[in-house]
Amino acid sequence: MIVSIEKCMHCGACVGSCPQNAIFLNEIVLEFNENCNKCGRCVRICPAGAIEMEGKK
């Protein structure tokens, strides 16, 4: 997943919504771990529209 650091508001909405618990927010940096199965829920959830699926534009 690609995170726009300009758009991300560090709110954690994606973290709590991730069915795989694969996202970690350390104050301001979002990290996806290997459990991410690219389901795309975070892309839809993100209130700031800051997350994109890799390879999609």
């Binding site: 973290v15 991730c18 970690f24 209130p47």
Partner: protein, 395 residues
């Protein structure tokens, strides 16, 4: 550096601080860790709470963290019908709008005064388990990895709810049970300074737009939309911006702050305890599914958790059996209400704008003098029994 405690609380929000305070008061050695550099910031909340909720949790109102005292509420239907609830009896359910950055610090300060230790910039990154028992957390303090051990870990990590899931309690949510939110603190508004306003219908699919006064011409103007109703990334902000543009009382305003967040609008968790672990607040999914409010429930659950943990420390037993009184206390206090409001939410999100207009219109002639979801549901039961048929026994 000390790394072994009776209780480690992960997250210094209101639920975590209440747990830390009440456990420390009963003699527990408590460490509360917070991954951010400041408790109470940055904001992810509309800041509304009712006085009854604070009183139940034993938190006396302190003017220093109150932003606005609310005189009543307005529920606005898609067609512009207004259902106004005035606090004519000035009962205990009068609302407050908080200054969360001050409120959260005041709650944490109470925990500190009771003897709890607080570490900032310390993130839990995993739990440590021995068999089926949680015995501590792996943490990073200013980036430095460390192991912290405890008789009991408290998952107070909010909506993110990662600690419970690392430990093996499933707190994952369906898309239909997640509300995604966007809010501006706006100023130069022409809205009423002492009324909380809720605007429902297709302007905020599955949720609502709120205007919560913050004194004078300033207010939190925000929106929650059900995740299952979102189509494109960033939709939620688009819904809010288009409403603000259309409402002349808001379009004259300017933003001072923007924030975002996720809110669970689900039934409460099936498991709130396991050996060496206890879930409190938003992480236990005990937010009210109708209002999205979680402060009062979080405070009360935190109080229960801290008191039970105090007893566990004295018995030196943090087994699931020993933590069981906590599970019973919070369920007795709020579980029926959470289920009822979840069912009400599931029903209301199926209603068309026209039906909502009709409901608000008839409610506006009903005699509801206290703003609570329960009183509104009672009025709906009288006038639109078909809408609450599936859960009428809970009203």
């Amino acid at each position: 550096m000390k790394t072994d405690y009776d209780v480690i609380v992960v997250g210094a929000g209101p639920a975590g601080s209440m747990t830390a305070k009440h456990a420390a008061k009963k003699g527990a050695k408590v460490l509360m860790i917070e991954k951010r550099q400041e408790i109470g910031a940055s904001l992810r909340c509309a800041e509304g709470v009712n006085k009854k909720g604070l009183a139940k949790a034993g938190v006396p109102v302190d003017k220093r963290w109150v932003s606005a005292d609310i005189a009543g509420a307005k529920l606005v239907s898609p067609g512009g019908h207004v259902f106004r609830i005035d606090e004519s009896q000035a009962g205990a359910e009068v609302g407050l709008v908080l200054e969360r950055h001050l409120f959260d610090k005041a709650m944490a300060a109470d925990a500190a005064r009771a003897g709890a230790e607080i570490w900032l910039k310390t993130a839990a990154v995993d739990v440590i388990k021995e068999g089926d028992k949680v015995v501590g957390v792996k943490a990073k303090r200013e980036g430095e990895p460390m192991k912290l051990t405890a008789g009991c870990v408290v998952a107070a990590d909010g909506f993110e709810s990662q600690v419970a899931r690392w430990a093996g309690i499933d707190t994952s949510l369906k898309a239909g049970d997640i509300t995604t939110c966007y809010q501006y603190r706006m100023t130069n508004l022409k809205t009423e300074p002492d009324y909380c306003e809720f605007i429902i219908g297709s302007v905020a699919p599955g949720g609502y737009i709120w205007v919560f006064p913050k004194g004078d011409d300033t207010a939190n103007v925000g929106i929650g939309v059900l995740a299952s109703k979102l189509k494109r990334p960033g939709d939620v902000k688009m819904y809010l911006d288009s409403w603000i543009k259309k409402d002349p009382r808001l379009s004259c305003g300017q933003p001072l702050e923007a924030l975002a967040g996720g809110v669970s609008v689900s039934p409460p968790v099936e498991r709130s305890i396991m050996n060496g672990l206890i879930l409190v607040g938003d992480s236990a999914r005990i937010i009210d599914p109708i209002t999205g409010g979680g402060i009062a429930n979080g405070l009360l659950a935190g109080k229960f958790a801290g008191e039970v943990l105090g007893d566990c420390v004295q018995a030196n037993d943090f087994s699931e059996r020993s933590l069981m009184p906590y599970d019973k206390l919070w369920r007795d206090a709020m579980e029926n209400r959470l289920w009822r409001n979840w069912m009400a939410k599931e029903k209301f999100l199926t209603l068309s704008d026209e039906t909502l207009d009709g409901v608000i219109d008839t409610l506006s002639t009903a005699n509801v003098d206290k703003m609570s979801v329960h009183n509104i549901l009672i009025a709906i039961k009288e006038r639109h029994p078909e809408l609450v048929k599936e859960f009428e026994e809970l009203i």
